[in-house]
Symmetry: C2
Subunit: 237 residues, 2 copies
DNA sequence: TGTACATCAGTGAACGCGCGTTCACTGATGTAC
DNA sequence: TGTACATCAGTGAACGCGCGTTCACTGATGTAC
């Protein structure tokens, strides 16, 4: 098996079979999404970018959206891995580890804008009801399902971090860990969405980096829970 | 002047001149954006929806993107107005007024999904440099400028609220009001983006409404600043 | 080791379609005198 | 009040283009015996 994913164009081996078209299509889509956003490319364009006839992609994906969904799924998997690495089992201490998660969150959105866009600006047809009219049942549904699972796994990392953090608090004033995780997630996502796109109209009014803004926000939030009392006036930095 | 904007199709007066095509195009775009997202319609489709020849829209907009930009501009204006109404001069007290702003934020995203989508998922061509090659200088640039201004005015409401809130704190422990405003904005936007779209994959795991989640988050945050000390254990509700 | 065959992955030609854009035009409106 | 004219807003026909999708096909790969 000629394993070699990515950048297969103009490769030495020119054979009738591409051998790695699926990966080549995903790679091409990543570049196009990064440049023009999801929805910024056509199925035919993907084929052209992979140096292949316009009918070839049909062997691997049903349509454009299936490619985006695949990218989103991979994105969530990588996202979960990077968040987990940043959390690092809560070492050296839960607050520091949580702040590292925050930085990892923004770092991911910065380093993988195409993945992030596919994950969070999915544009999946929203109202599509569960019509069981399709021939193969559980085709697109399975993709949706595994996409949702991948997203859940990423969130589970934040959820686990919130659990640990809350567990450190006095038993009688523990907020729901789920709520804490949702707040952290929303704040991170909000900062990423508003301030990370280059020239996003909002960027110029930032007094600091998005990373520092997020850290300050998390510190203030967590301090209120009774956690960060040790380093109090650090919050407004 | 036959003033009557919106829903002009099949109207009584059938004349050669539409009389209100610009508004009709905006209305049609609003419906299409709400149904399929920005980018989910073509210029020709807009013309068809307004019952007009495909060349007609060129009298009013340069292209698709100009329509979306116009909608975003109007959206920001309405957004600013609704936030200001919710803030209500900081009455009855700054914290309550700020929480009202939070609800207004989410209410806006709920009630005007098309406006919200046009405002925050603009998909403006990101890297377009300030090429002064165009014949009319300041054509598209003026639109961009006024769009940015409209966004600034909306943010200014939150900024003003943060100012008032911070002013209530002891002089020696006031955080930067700008930072506070940015945190509130990011949290609101994050919650709206993650949990307000129907079936957004994240919705089912919500233990409460997005509105309550946001209120709890703001209460916790603000309490840490030394504000909400009066109603302490309300934060985990 | 060699041969036959099934399967698989990509070809390339073809189709109908809707889009963006242009053009000379035409009918309605408003204004000057 | 009436007439001439400029301006404005929409027409409809036309164009070339790229897209999505299908189809019978073909060459490479892998497996059975």
């Amino acid at each position: 098996m000629g394993w070699r994913h990515g950048h297969g164009r103009g490769w030495g081996r020119e054979s009738y079979h591409h051998g790695n078209l699926r990966e080549a299509l995903v790679d091409a889509a990543l570049e196009l999404i990064a440049a023009r956003g999801p929805g910024g490319f056509s199925f035919a364009e993907l084929a052209r970018a992979a140096g292949v006839s316009p009918a070839a992609p049909y062997r691997h994906f049903r349509d454009r959206h299936a490619v985006v969904a695949e990218i989103a799924r991979r994105g969530f998997a990588l996202f979960a891995a990077e968040l987990a690495a940043a959390w690092h089992g809560g070492q050296p201490d839960p607050l520091t580890a949580l702040l590292n998660c925050g930085r990892a969150y923004l770092a991911f959105a910065r380093k993988h804008p195409a993945l992030y866009a596919a994950m969070f600006t999915a544009e999946l047809p929203p109202g599509e009801p569960p019509s069981s009219e399709d021939a193969e049942p559980g085709e697109g549904a399975a993709s949706d399902e595994s996409l949702k699972e991948a997203g859940d796994r990423a969130f589970a990392v934040l959820r686990g971090a919130a659990d640990r953090l809350v567990a450190e608090l006095d038993r009688d004033k523990r907020p729901p860990a789920l709520m804490v995780a949702l707040h952290i997630w929303a704040l991170s996502h909000g900062i990423a969405a508003l301030f990370l796109r280059s020239g996003c109209a909002a960027s110029p009014l930032l007094p600091s980096t998005p990373e520092d803004l997020l850290e300050a926000g998390v510190r203030i939030y967590v301090q209120s829970l009774g956690y960060g009392a040790r380093a109090p006036s650090d919050s407004a930095r």
